[in-house]
């Protein structure tokens, strides 16, 4: 009897250990478990350190990138929460661990590079826009974060000629066509169209340096639509769809689908909407586009099922939301994107 009770107790203990082990917590986080961050923070510093060492050094090899990325974001969440609670030391510890995990694969393949770049861009903005931190302190912390990223990932943050031209074009686009810009709602005015052409030529010069610059191609394609040049837009979206970043590919497919839809090529539209959904299942816009199209084609049950499938998922994050907001105004959405990508 006693042996049986002890065995049951031991079994329950090992089950609890298993669900609270570091890999299990990372897995839980990637499966939308809201308690995962709390469980991570409950682990001892030594236990976390050992686990991260094992994940990054590995025996015989480090974790796969998808798991490393998940663990990196989990520590980013812990950093975020610890900062909010004023636990500075703990926050700093988690940040270092996040950097280690995200930097574990040093070759910086395109997918990892895009993720790390966005992580490096997002965190300083979050710090800088945090109302609880004094502006001077926030700026210093943000700069430190950025510098650390540059040290750790010099390749990803080295400014190329193409990306410098892209940044300039983006700045101009936001200045004239951003929410408060003079050309925001008057795309048919001749002077606005002239400005659009000017910004388009800036993106073209970025693409002249690097003809496979996906973001420049995406933005240029969007402007081409505004100028009524659909054939040219399609060319640019095709370039964008070859990029490594799933957000850019998603938007490129979504926009191509929309062009086909508006021109009555409904089979093509359906195909591209589905391709967009495959790139970014948590994003609603492509699902709405597809659901609306299916309903219009008389496939009501399918239309409803597509929508229900989306709504049954947990959190939705759409790259369109950050695409349409100026950099610096969308840090929380960018963080949501990073989160959802490690979870989906």
């Amino acid at each position: 009897m006693l042996a049986f009770a002890l065995q049951a107790l031991f079994s329950a203990y090992t089950r609890a250990q298993a669900t609270h082990s570091y890999p299990a917590i990372v897995h839980a986080y990637r499966s939308f478990d809201p308690e995962a961050v709390g469980r991570l923070r409950a682990l001892t510093t030594d236990a976390i350190e050992d686990a991260v060492s094992e994940a990054t050094a590995g025996n015989p090899q480090p974790w796969p990138w998808a798991d490393l990325r998940g663990a990196g974001m989990l520590h980013t969440e812990a950093w975020y929460l610890a900062r909010a609670e004023g636990a500075g030391d703990e926050a700093a510890r988690h940040l270092v661990l996040a950097e280690r995990l995200l930097g574990a694969v040093t070759s910086l393949e395109p997918q990892q590079r895009y993720f790390v770049e966005r992580w490096c861009q997002t965190l300083p903005v979050i710090v800088r826009t945090d109302e609880r931190t004094r502006p001077g302190v926030a700026d210093r912390t943000a700069r430190t974060l950025h510098d650390r990223c540059r040290l750790r990932w010099p390749l990803s943050l080295t400014t190329s000629k193409a990306s410098a031209r892209y940044d300039l074009a983006l700045f101009n686009e936001w200045t004239f066509f951003g929410p408060d810009g003079p050309g925001a709602k008057r795309t048919s005015d001749p002077w606005v169209r002239q400005r659009m052409r000017g910004v388009a030529s800036m993106y073209e010069s970025a693409l002249a340096e690097d003809r496979d610059h996906p973001e420049a191609a995406l933005r240029l394609g969007n402007l081409r639509i505004g100028l009524g040049e659909e054939a040219l837009a399609l060319e640019q979206f095709t370039v964008a769809s070859r990029g490594a970043d799933p957000r850019t590919r998603y938007l490129a497919f979504l926009f191509v689908g929309e062009i086909h839809n508006r021109n009555g090529r409904l089979d093509d539209a359906e195909r591209f909407y589905k391709a967009a959904i495959a790139q970014y299942p948590a994003a609603p816009s492509a699902v709405y586009a597809l659901s609306e199209l299916l309903g219009r084609r008389g496939r009501d049950a399918e239309s409803k099922q597509r929508l229900l499938g989306l709504l049954r998922q947990g959190r939705h994050v759409d790259p369109l939301w950050t695409f349409r907001l100026p950099p610096g105004q969308n840090a929380s959405l960018q963080l949501d994107e990073l989160r959802i990508e490690v979870m989906q």
Partner: protein
């Protein structure tokens, strides 16, 4: 006893006795069309009308009304609530009260579902009997984010209850304009023309909540041009509903409960279209014969 005679008896019963005692069963056929009709004297619903009191034209061709019914048909109510950033605080609390009021007006055979939207549309409770599930869901709501009004309206119509022999009500609350939908207003109105759901809008707008109608950088979003008037009003108009403009948050409760009550007083006319095109857009006109009154009904339907 013919359906026509039965309908007459039911109508008489409806005027002579409490309406909930009427027991006519709502009938649909594969070819049948149901039209939800509100008849008022300008202010209050007119009760006791019979099928002979209506003239119904489909594509300009007069149709025979097979059945007429009120009140006794169970309803399926979808609440679609704007919980964007501007709804935070008193407005959200008033909204929660409004939901509870609407739920309290539901009967045991009625069903409800709750959908909320900011930039993200979420189905909080799927279809379930009565209103208890939506009442349980509302205390957990938190406001924040932008407004995907068009996407939410589309979802509310698309997720129409599948149970047969019901009338379908969508209550769409917003305090601002769309700021983040992918779908265009045309897509939303097209969907409205393909369902028999009636949309009632509840708006509580003020200068503080006025926002740009379209987002600038997505050129697609403005490709359809501006909608012909307010999206909520157009949607209500197309589906045969109405818009209640709440002056302050405290009006929301009255608006929500008033909508459910008014919806129950509507007539449901069923007819089998004859001598009209089988597919395409069917404009509908409903008039009163030899009587005065104001009619609200959908403008037509797409097959």
């Amino acid at each position: 006893m013919t359906v026509r005679t039965l309908a007459l008896i039911v109508s008489l019963l409806a005027t002579a006795a409490p309406a909930h005692l009427a027991q006519q069963r709502f009938r649909t056929t594969t070819d049948g069309v149901r039209i939800d009709v509100l008849v008022t004297d300008g202010r209050r619903p007119i009760a006791g009308l019979q099928e002979k009191d209506f003239i119904l034209l489909d594509q300009g061709v007069r149709q025979d009304i097979d059945t007429i019914a009120i009140e006794d048909i169970p309803l399926s109510m979808m609440l679609a609530l704007d919980i964007s950033e501007s709804v935070e605080g008193q407005k959200l609390r008033a909204l929660v009260d409004g939901v509870k009021a609407a739920a309290s007006a539901l009967g045991p055979r009625d069903r409800s579902a709750l959908l909320t939207f900011s930039e993200e549309v979420r189905l909080r409770t799927p279809w379930s009997p009565g209103g208890s599930a939506i009442v349980k869901a509302v205390p957990g709501l938190a406001a924040g984010g932008a407004t995907a009004l068009v996407d939410a309206g589309f979802a509310a119509l698309t997720l129409r209850d599948d149970l047969p022999d019901r009338r379908h009500l969508v209550i769409l609350f917003t305090d601002g304009d769309d700021t983040s939908s992918w779908l265009s207003w045309r897509g939303l109105l097209d969907r409205a023309q393909r369902t028999d759901a009636v949309v009632y809008g509840v708006t509580q707008r003020s200068w503080q909540t006025a926002r740009p109608r379209s987002l600038p950088l997505i050129v697609f979003a403005s490709g359809d041009g501006e909608p012909p008037g307010d999206v909520v009003e157009t949607l209500a108009e197309v589906s045969g509903g109405r818009v209640f403009a709440a002056r302050d948050p405290d009006d929301l409760r009255t608006a929500f409960i008033g909508i459910v009550r008014e919806f129950r007083s509507r007539y449901v006319l069923t007819y089998t279209p004859k001598n009209v095109e089988a597919t395409g857009w069917h404009p509908i006109e409903v008039r009163l014969k030899d009587r005065k009154g104001t009619i609200k009904a959908r403008r037509g339907y797409t097959r």
